[in-house]
């Protein structure tokens, strides 16, 4: 490892950090200007966050566990299914209307149905997360697969690849740069729905913490919970980006000479 400060400094997203810092400053400043109990400032919220961190950390673990389980399930099922649908338009014409019908059903409305089949424990929540994270993956996988240049598929066919092999060895890598947008959305959705479902039906998790803060009008605590989610989301994003950099190095480099 040749870690050096300067290489870190050049890779670090300075504009992003500065912009976030400015937003946070603006928040603190305007909170002081408004001086309302409805609008606690950054420092106050951070105080609550530090204060409650011992309580929040295990809750966050629960939330993340469910989000991860739901997302992983969705990834394993929907990525292959999406590529299959994208590669098999005849099949797509039957199932896509089904997907479009299910897509806009609010998770709030799915919860009661999920409860009927999965009870009120983690299984119900994970199935709702799975449900919600499925669509970004599915839609992006379908569209990205259809967007693959036909010649690549013909190469695969002429080399005697089977349908499944074409999907795995050609469609997946070729569509991956586009699918990544769906993966990112799906990860965010998994986290979001994990929290939301906890707000609705849970006695644990960050969502429950948020709900409790909302119920008890502890606005600062509510914001502290949101900041905790934000931090976790940013951390996850670092990991996703590392994976993406690894998987899609070829894509980034092949665009290298592009004058953006």
């Amino acid at each position: 490892m040749n870690f050096s400060l300067s290489s870190f400094a050049s890779r670090f997203n300075w504009p992003g950090a500065i912009f976030m810092a400015l937003l946070l400053l603006l928040w603190e400043w305007s909170a002081r200007a408004v001086a309302s109990p409805n609008f606690p400032g950054l420092l106050q919220v951070l105080g609550v966050l530090i204060n409650d961190s011992a309580e929040l950390a295990p809750q966050m673990a629960v939330t993340l566990w469910r989000a991860a389980a739901g997302f992983a399930l969705a990834l394993v099922v929907m990525l292959p299914l999406g590529i299959f649908i994208g590669r098999t338009p005849a099949f797509g014409r039957y199932v896509e209307p089904m997907i479009d019908l299910l897509r806009p059903l609010p998770p709030l409305a799915i919860v009661p149905v999920a409860m009927l089949f999965m009870g009120t424990g983690s299984a119900a929540k994970i199935s709702v997360i799975f449900y919600s994270a499925s669509f970004p993956l599915l839609i992006h996988a379908i569209d990205a697969t259809r967007g693959t240049h036909p010649l690549l598929v013909q190469v695969g066919r002429s080399l005697g690849l089977t349908r499944v092999e074409i999907m795995r060895q050609i469609d997946l890598p070729a569509a991956l740069p586009k699918i990544m947008a769906g993966v990112r959305v799906a990860i965010a959705v998994a986290l979001l729905i994990s929290v939301s479902s906890e707000m609705l039906l849970s006695t644990d998790g960050v969502g429950n913490y948020l709900m409790r803060s909302q119920e008890q009008f502890r606005i600062a605590a509510g914001l502290a919970g949101l900041i905790a989610i934000a931090l976790v989301s940013l951390t996850i994003n670092i990991g996703v980006r590392a994976i993406e950099n690894h998987l899609l190095a070829w894509h980034r480099k092949s665009l290298g000479s592009a004058p953006l």
Binding site: N38, R93, L101, P104, I139, G147, R184
Partner: protein
């Protein structure tokens, strides 16, 4: 046979398949029928709704709100993504914010947004916009960053400036992917509309849903859910039609694989 022509019969068969599975689950009596009514009961309730003026008004309002919010989100999301494509620092500055916003539950923001925006149309607009805009931004941003280098070089040598290249090459090339994310965001917008109507409002499908759930009119509730789903199909078809108009080449090109 080409992918550009959609056969409504197949779509119908697909939906019929879904309903059959549903009815089979009901018939298997996994769960009491009072909580998961069968297809005939739901359709009965749906047909009953048809004679109710509140239903039609609610349906129209929900659709209009969702479409309005989606349009707003599309303009913002694509607009900012274009800016971000042109100026790298904009993209970098926004990256953490977008990531955060994408994963904050709108439900947690509701009391705060009511405080800031009141209960009127502004609240609806904001929540629907919020639940759609980040997805669109992210998708458009992703698409605009993956242009064919040869095309960009070509445009430059023909004298197209950065902005013009953005309009004339990068955006058209990205269009199919942009539509993908708008498609995704449309579902988000519909959900947010219904959720907001459930929370605060006196009309719309969400309001009716809350009401039916409150009074345990389960078949009607499912009928309304079906309507919400149907709205998704409708909106999605509209977007696909628009995509066919804007970048139909894309579908045709991909259809040549099966010549």
């Amino acid at each position: 046979m080409t992918a550009t022509r959609n056969n409504p019969l197949r779509a119908f068969l697909g939906l019929a398949g879904l309903l059959t599975v549903w009815q089979l689950i009901v018939a298997a009596r996994w769960v009491p029928e009072e909580y998961l009514p069968g297809v005939p009961a739901v359709f009965g309730a749906l047909v009953e709704q048809f004679s109710d003026r509140a239903f039609w008004v609610g349906e129209a309002l929900t659709l209009l709100r969702a479409i309005g919010g989606l349009l707003l989100a599309t303009v913002c999301g694509v607009g900012v993504a274009v800016l971000a494509a042109r100026f790298r620092w904009v993209e970098q500055a926004l990256a953490p914010l977008v990531q955060i916003m994408l994963s904050l539950p709108p439900a947690a923001l509701v009391p705060l947004s009511i405080f800031a925006l009141g209960l009127g149309p502004k609240l609806f607009a904001f929540i629907i916009w919020y639940s759609a805009v980040w997805v669109i931004y992210l998708g458009t941003n992703n698409a605009l960053r993956s242009n064919e280098p040869v095309q960009l070089n070509m445009a430059r040598t023909f004298g197209y400036g950065r902005w013009e290249t953005l309009w004339r090459v990068r955006l058209p090339a990205a269009a199919p992917e942009v539509f993908t994310s708008v498609r995704l965001a449309a579902a988000g917008a519909l959900m947010a509309t219904v959720a907001t109507e459930m929370l605060a409002g006196k009309d719309g499908l969400g309001f009716l849903l809350y009401d039916t759930a409150f009074s345990l009119r389960i078949p009607e509730m499912f009928a309304l859910l079906l309507t919400a789903g149907f709205n998704g199909v409708l909106l999605n078809q509209a977007i696909l039609r628009m995509r066919r108009y804007v970048s139909g080449w894309h579908e045709q090109l991909s259809a040549t694989a099966r010549a």
